[in-house]
């Protein structure tokens, strides 16, 4: 009955240009009406469901398994262990060759004989329904021999700590040092040195749709189709082909609607390989949909870091050197295929990134432990690097009695100093820190806010203002994964096609996870071909249909995928003009395209519309001149090769009130000034930034995977793991500075992660600013009432 109330989705941009306008997502209505197609909505004939029996111990040997009763349970199809699956699916190792010296151990689709974290699967139970499989699991008797677990990353490398993988000789996964050479001299000669340690709680991304896989293997032609809730379908097709020994051409991965991803769904999980291998083994479709409880112990975690930081300055407040020591714990295996060292690596690359300091030293230790694997989650290292940088800059401001905004103003890289390098060696195309700081100052009315703060403080109300300047790595080239040997596409392709009805179909390798990617592709295609938005259809998420691409990660969708769409659309426009010229017997140079019609450039008179051109091209080519062939399908590719990454920048501010009696933090307001280059859709962009800020606030105030000393997760449910919720969120105001990248004609940089990068630092600095009258600081996220009360000596 939905059609009875059919308010048209009014896209503000009925007329071009569409780029730069607040276009509403055409797919929003379908999704909000419950008409999306997620993996769990797909039902196939003879489909079976798999449930994994998971280790209740952080580290344990499987002594024996008794499945006798389970085999007799109704609906049970098969019970398969790791050794049997290893005959179908090869083990994998999550290393990248450009992370020099990194090691990890082979990981199997299902663990064989030993589980290395609480939640690792040791047995697959396949049944007619998920409920029947769960009934069967309850009858299985596993005898476990618990082994000593490595829980605390601080002692993971200590001699008395057991080594998780004997063949590696230690629990060290990766070590990196970066040193510009003059750090010790800079600190020795500095007027001011500040030092502080920052701790980051391990947390995870919580998606509305859990990880889901439906593997369909056709033994007659040995073709595999996988319905997947994933960000990188081509990567998964390649990996399934390799691990299962199938030709890649015979593997198809389909990602229809994806209910949130945030990096959680960019990895290749053991569960994915196990489900696909079971489908091959059993010769029937097998579905796995993670439930919320197992998601907490199998979805990747992130951000468990301890960073010791030092900053040297002159008495005028000029930064001389940053020196950091980062320790991070990643679970028992480096995640496949993107590894678990990228987060730490980014902390090294990005700390101190906005500033002019000449000297920099960083040390990174990435260690194994018996907890859930960690890997890339929205922001990847940026929230850590930004909090360390901005935390210690604020500490310096307090010590020196310099206004924190002013201290930043004195040290950010000047807007006219690009292109240039940062102290860590990162190459920066063009940033706008000075413009962004100026804009923020006006936006928040900084002097008035400071005055309000001072007046309220007299009344015993403690408010704080926190500022966080950030840089964010986006639009990566092959530097991220390709050069390290991972077969993850660094380029993107788009195919545009004009149909006989004058509609343009556009297939892109980058998919949609709810952020609106398809909408901005449609805007770009509409403007560049020259037709209404309603006449554009976007196709994503099917390796059999879309050009080979990398998918969604590292804030590359708009910048890389969008440019491919632009280039393909631009060529299609040229081809349409050539067709019109042939049909009208005019010079193409005299013609123009707008709103799905070809016009006389001089008089603006409409000469022919796309539908008529389509009719002629497809059905009456006999009417066209001999020797002319219309080409109404165009594919173009784009890879960003000028820089390893195109950096963006921004600045955020948080305004909080700390109840010093209860330790509760009330978020009053949050602001972001963001420069992601050319803005394609301000509506979607602002919502991306708001959502990302909320996720950052989650890490700063709420989210933490709490483990006990034996490596067991203590809060793995939605009741106990605190995701940020609307009631506690502040209003978030967003403004933009636009510095388009010159690496593409579109000029767009990435925007999906910067919010998460800056929010924790801004909130931390705001809390510490509020606590300043008491001369105490908190530096261990999340900032719980308990931690704040302890800092205030109330308990």
């Amino acid at each position: 009955m939905n059609d009875l109330v059919a308010p048209p989705v009014v896209a503000e941009a009925a007329a071009p240009p569409h780029i730069g306008r607040r276009v509403v997502r055409p797919n929003a209505r379908r999704l909000t009406e419950g008409r999306g197609t997620y993996v769990d909505d797909v039902e196939l004939p003879r489909m079976a469901h798999v449930v994994y029996l998971r280790s209740p111990h952080a580290h344990a040997r499987v002594v024996s398994v008794d499945v006798t009763a389970a085999h007799a349970m109704p609906g049970v199809i098969a019970i398969v262990d790791g050794a049997r699956l290893a005959q179908v699916c090869a083990p994998f190792v999550g290393t990248l060759s450009h992370m020099v010296g990194m090691r990890s151990a082979p990981q199997y689709a299902i663990a064989i004989d030993r589980a290395c974290w609480q939640g690792e699967a040791v047995l697959a139970i396949v049944a007619d329904t998920r409920a029947l499989a769960e009934d069967a699991v309850e009858t299985i008797v596993v005898e476990w021999e618990p082994l000593p677990a490595v829980a605390d990353m601080e002692t993971a490398l200590a001699p008395q700590t057991p080594v998780i993988h004997a063949e590696l000789g230690s629990n060290l996964c990766y070590h990196r040092e970066l040193d510009t050479g003059g750090v010790d001299a800079a600190f020795a000669g500095a007027d001011v040195v500040v030092e502080e340690t920052y701790v980051f709680g391990r947390h995870t991304g919580v998606t509305m749709e859990p990880r889901s896989v439906l593997a369909d293997f056709n033994p007659a032609e040995r073709r595999l189709t996988v319905h997947h809730s994933h960000q990188a379908p081509h990567m998964m097709a390649d990996l399934y082909a390799r691990q299962l020994g199938l030709p890649e051409a015979d593997v198809r991965v389909i990602c229809r609607d994806v209910g949130g991803s945030f990096g959680i769904k960019v990895h290749a999980y053991a569960d994915d390989f196990a489900t696909v291998a079971l489908a091959v083994l059993l010769k029937r479709p097998v579905k796995f949909v993670a439930d919320r409880l197992e998601s907490f112990v199998t979805d990747i975690h992130a951000r468990e870091h301890r960073v010791k930081a030092r900053l040297a300055l002159t008495r005028e407040g000029r930064m001389l050197a940053f020196d950091i020591d980062d320790l991070t714990g990643i679970g028992p295996y480096s995640m496949f295929p993107r590894t678990s060292v990228v987060e730490g690596n980014q902390v090294v690359n990005i700390t101190g990134g906005p500033y002019n300091h000449p000297e920099y030293r960083a040390k990174l230790d990435v260690v194994f432990q018996n907890k859930v694997q960690t890997s890339q989650y929205r922001g990847v290292g940026h929230p850590v690097a930004c909090a360390v940088t901005e935390g210690i800059v604020d500490l310096a401001a307090v010590r020196m009695g310099i206004d924190p905004l002013e201290l930043r103003r004195r040290n950010v890289m000047e807007d006219d100093s690009y292109p240039r390098k940062g102290a860590s060696g990162i190459v920066l195309e063009k940033l706008s820190h000075q413009q962004c700081l100026a804009k923020l100052e006006t936006m928040i009315d900084y002097p008035a806010l400071r005055q309000e703060q001072a007046e309220l403080r007299k009344k015993g109300i403690y408010r704080g203002i926190g500022i966080a300047v950030l840089i964010e790595l986006t639009n990566p080239g092959a530097a991220f994964y390709g050069v390290g040997g991972a077969r993850i596409a660094a380029q993107e392709g788009a195919t545009v096609r004009l149909d006989p009805t004058g509609v343009v179909h556009c297939a892109v390798g980058v998919g949609e996870q709810g952020q609106g990617t398809e909408t901005i592709f449609a805007q770009i295609a509409a403007d560049e071909v020259g037709l209404p938005l309603a006449a554009v259809r976007i196709i994503t998420g099917d390796t059999a249909v879309t050009p080979y691409g990398g998918g969604t990660w590292a804030s590359r969708g708009a910048g890389i995928g969008g440019e491919a769409v632009l280039q393909a659309s631009r060529q299609l426009r040229t081809n349409i003009l050539a067709l019109a010229a042939a049909h009208l017997k005019r010079d193409a140079g005299e013609l123009d395209v707008a709103d799905g019609k070809v016009r006389d450039r001089a008089t603006q008179a409409t000469l022919v519309d796309f539908a008529e051109l389509g009719r002629i091209a497809y059905f009456r080519p006999d009417l066209l001149p001999q020797g002319f062939q219309s080409e109404l399908v165009v594919t173009r590719h784009y890879s960003q090769r000028t820089y390893p990454f195109v950096f963006t920048n921004g600045v955020q501010a948080s305004y909080v009130e700390v109840d010093i009696e209860t330790g509760f933090v009330k978020l009053l307001k949050h602001w972001a000034v963001e420069d992601c280059g050319r803005v394609i859709n301000p509506l979607l962009l602002d919502e991306q930034i708001r959502g990302a800020i909320v996720q950052g606030i989650g890490g700063a105030l709420f989210e933490e995977c709490l483990y006990d000393g034996s490596g067991l997760l203590r809060n793995g449910s939605m009741a106990d793991y605190l995701v940020p919720m609307a009631s506690e969120m502040p209003d978030i105001e967003v403004a933009h500075v636009e510095t388009p990248t010159r690496t593409s004609e579109l000029g767009a940089k990435g925007a999906g992660e910067a919010g998460t990068a800056g929010a924790p630092a801004a909130v931390m600095n705001a809390i510490n600013d509020a606590l300043a009258p008491f001369d105490v600081r908190v530096t261990a996220q999340p900032f719980t009432p308990e931690k704040i009360l302890r800092a205030l000596n109330k308990i």
Partner: protein
């Protein structure tokens, strides 16, 4: 996860419900709003053989004033209390507490009786029942008995409800003109179970407190009545020294334990803060020294 297989029966009388409880013993569970039960089923923490849906028992529904009491039927949903003018006028403590109670979706289904019967020590209704001196009416289908809220909550999730009984209603004495109420709680996220909460009822006359009933939630195995604090405050005005004495006496009144995020020490401290705030909110402008 998926719930294990169970049978479902819908009854329309207390006698039928009780008969099923007697027949199946521990294997039967009463289903009212289902806001706790259904989650435990899906997590396989509880595997009853039969669910007895009691939502069709008319006698358990409704809010009414009769014989000097406000009667809240056990099947009254949280949202019904939230929207009840009668409750707002006659027992505003419940109206003050209900916004803290979970989220709208839960308030739309969860029931007053279900919450009282489950007796989560961090839940709002058990504490309010105790603070407002409620009396529970319990029935085994043939006999009714009455138990004061103060005697009903025995230990963690343990109540005086017999295995073959249902809560029919809770009756609250209608407060006199001088009686005032306060409710507040601290939760990390609005709608979560409270870290600490407080429900207070008291007669205020010329700024002097009397006949106080101070009940904490989240700081013991049951809702905890703070008798020491009541003694410290009864007959007094809310001046700082009196409040300090009341706060000091809390160490005898409450017995918090550590939870995932908050230590017992922090909860004790927060209980003192809430006591002070609740007393201040009980007193009007000019009544505070």
């Amino acid at each position: 996860m998926k719930a294990p297989r169970f049978a479902y029966t819908r009854v329309t009388t207390v006698a039928d419900a009780v008969s099923l409880l007697r027949q199946h013993g521990d294997d039967a569970r009463l289903l009212a709003g289902g806001q706790t039960l259904l989650a435990t089923l899906n997590m396989r923490l509880s595997e009853p053989v039969v669910l007895v849906d009691i939502t069709g028992i008319e006698a358990l529904h409704g809010v009414a004033v009769q014989d000097g009491f406000l009667r809240i039927g056990a099947l009254t949903r949280h949202v019904d209390i939230e929207r009840s003018e009668l409750v707002a006028q006659r027992l505003p403590l419940l109206t003050q507490a209900v916004p803290f109670l979970a989220h709208a979706a839960i308030r739309n289904r969860g029931t007053f009786g279900g919450s009282v019967a489950f007796a989560d020590p961090a839940a709002e209704w058990p504490a309010c029942a105790l603070a407002a001196d409620g009396e529970l009416i319990l029935s085994n289908g043939t006999n009714e008995r009455r138990v004061m809220a103060g005697d009903f909550f025995i230990d963690l999730y343990q109540t005086d409800l017999h295995p073959d009984e249902l809560i029919i209603a809770v009756e609250f004495p209608l407060p006199g003109r001088q009686r005032r109420f306060a409710f507040t709680e601290l939760a990390r996220r609005h709608g979560d179970y409270a870290i600490v909460g407080i429900a207070v009822a008291g007669d205020i006359s010329g700024g002097v407190m009397g006949d106080l009933r101070i009940v904490f939630l989240g700081v013991g195995n049951t809702p905890m009545r703070a008798l020491g604090a009541e003694t410290a405050l009864n007959g007094k005005r809310g001046d700082p020294a009196v409040l300090a004495a009341a706060i000091a006496s809390l160490s005898e009144d409450i017995a918090p334990s550590d939870d995932l995020y908050t230590s017992a020490a922090a909860k004790s401290h927060l209980a003192g803060v809430l006591l002070q705030r609740a007393v201040k909110s009980l007193l009007h402008e000019g009544e505070t020294p």
